[in-house]
């Protein structure tokens, strides 16, 4: 699957939105000064994605189990369409993600939305991961060898 540069950017922001906590997104959305009107092309829908693994981590694929995912598609007043696919069952999360996805595709809004929503969400995610990593890091074993005898 070849992915264009533009798609690569979109992959990133959609992933950031998908993994965000709904209330974090809501707060940042509230702070956004210019909000567009939109209508839903596909109303928020709760469903599942089957999560797959690989035998031995690298081998044949198998179905591990499902996870809940909510999706939504919107069209802004200016005609831009956006899609939201988010983890969990939060419909508002999926709808706002779709709106933000549409805004991010609009060159006129992109910078403000990126600075106001995407980057802060990304930082929150990284901070949470970092906080877990420094606690795990403290449990790393430092082996030392006790030498007995003189030679």
């Amino acid at each position: 699957m070849s992915v264009t540069m533009e798609q690569r950017h979109r992959q990133r922001w959609m992933s950031v939105l998908a993994k965000a906590k709904p209330k974090d997104l809501e707060v940042l959305w509230d702070n956004l000064p210019q909000k567009p009107g939109w209508r839903t092309l596909r109303r928020p829908e709760v469903g599942m994605v089957m999560v797959r693994g690989r035998a031995g981590g690298t081998g044949v694929r198998f179905n591990l189990g499902e996870m809940t995912v909510t999706r939504c598609s919107v069209r802004l007043e200016n005609g831009m369409t956006g899609h939201g696919y988010v983890s969990g069952r939060h419909k508002r999360h999926a709808e706002l993600s779709a709106v933000v996805d549409a805004l991010m595709q609009d060159p006129d809004c992109r910078e403000d939305v990126r600075d106001g929503i995407i980057e802060p969400l990304s930082k929150m995610h990284d901070d949470a991961r970092e906080a877990a990593a420094v606690k795990a890091g403290a449990t790393k074993v430092d082996f030392f060898t006790v030498v007995r005898g003189d030679d």
Binding site: Q11, V51, G56, R61, L64, V69, R129, G137, K140, V141
Partner: protein, 365 residues
């Protein structure tokens, strides 16, 4: 003639009401919240998600609460719920090699790249009841460190892979992936169907089977090559986009069991692998799963199949605790007519025996 007997509606209604009453318990005690269950009974939530085969912490916490802590009942609730949701598709296979590690240990190499990271584990506790937990009071936070954790730690099995000592696990992405939620299992079952069944399977059942294997019923000489716990991204390709996005980050536990293999006519002696993977932090389950996975590979590796843990039908038909629970518990349903007929049959046989005995005695006299 078929006679339907009705009755008991009122009793059933009151039984359900009593269940809700007892679930709530003493009204002077605060009701437990889903956040508390998720945060403080997190391993119960992890087990219910794994065996319920649905990753959703809030729903699993609700199931635990509704089931009054009966985890198999909670698994049943989650399984029932998932049938109400549409499926958008399947994810790309998760890449556990790119896990954000929270625990990672190996029993086969002391000094491995990335190091041994103990994480939060019961392993080093003394299993003494901690009465300070019975009292109120805040706990200190985990120690912080400036150790940088490498998020792309090599897998231990790959270290052996390089010199051919370890069998390779190669993808076969042209093959379809078996799905037990859609098609019933066929025998002999492929590795994909087996791993799915084991991932959903009951921890206690798999633990006992793994233990039986270690004690000699089809021993596979296992070593815990690597156990890792942490977060991985779930990538999904929405059809309207045509490219993958990370829809979530989930916690998983992975166990790579390394096992001796004597070799065969076509393969040199080398190490073989058993694999365990669960949602959340279910280390005992992942280990048991990897032991059973390896044991179920006996026939493909040309080993004798003579122990229960090596028997596909025995293991895979009995691993699911929702099915097992349903069949065992159906015995509680009214069997009044069945039982009456058995009663009649046994009476008749006894009468027959009595008559025969009388006839023999008469003949003897």
């Amino acid at each position: 003639m078929y006679v339907a007997v009705k009755g008991g509606e009122k009793a059933i209604e009151n039984s359900q009401r009593l269940l809700a009453d007892e679930r709530r318990g003493d009204r002077h005690v605060n009701e437990v919240t889903l956040q508390q269950i998720d945060g403080q009974l997190s391993l119960a939530v992890d087990r219910v998600m794994t065996e319920g085969s649905l990753y959703d912490r809030e729903l699993a916490a609700l199931a635990v609460k509704q089931a009054r802590g009966d985890l198999i009942e909670a698994v049943f609730l989650l399984r029932a719920y998932r049938t109400t949701l549409p499926r958008f598709g399947a994810s790309e296979p998760i890449d556990t090699g790119r896990m954000a590690i929270r625990r990672r240990i190996s029993a086969t190499y002391k000094d491995l790249p990335g190091g041994q990271i103990l994480g939060a584990s019961f392993d080093y506790t003394h299993r003494l009841l901690d009465f300070t937990l019975a009292a109120d009071g805040e706990r200190p936070e985990g120690e912080l460190s400036d150790h940088v954790i490498d998020n792309e730690m090599p897998r231990v099995v790959e270290l052996l892979d390089r010199d051919g000592m370890m069998e390779a696990e190669l993808p076969a992405d042209d093959e379809p992936v078996a799905d037990l939620t859609r098609d019933s299992i066929q025998f002999p079952a492929g590795r994909d169907a087996r791993l799915q069944a084991l991932a959903r399977g009951d921890e206690g059942f798999l633990l006992a089977l793994g233990y039986s294997n270690q004690r000699g019923f089809g021993n596979t000489h296992p070593f815990a090559g690597e156990i890792r716990v942490g977060e991985v991204a779930v990538e999904f390709v929405p059809e309207e986009l045509g490219f993958a996005i990370e829809v979530a980050e989930i916690t998983v536990t992975e166990c790579q069991m390394i096992n001796q293999f004597q070799g065969s006519a076509t393969q040199p002696p080398q190490f073989t692998r058993g694999y365990g993977l669960t949602f959340g932090y279910c280390e005992r389950k992942a280990m048991a799963m990897s032991l059973v996975d390896r044991s179920l590979r006996a026939s493909e590796l040309g080993e004798d199949v003579n122990a229960p843990v090596q028997d596909q039908e025995f293991v895979l038909y009995h691993a699911d605790n929702v099915e097992a629970s349903g069949f065992v518990q159906h015995l509680k349903l009214p069997h009044y007519i069945d039982f009456q007929s058995e009663l009649v049959i046994i009476r008749r046989i006894r009468e027959q025996i009595e008559r025969n005995r009388g006839a023999h005695q008469e003949a003897a006299e």
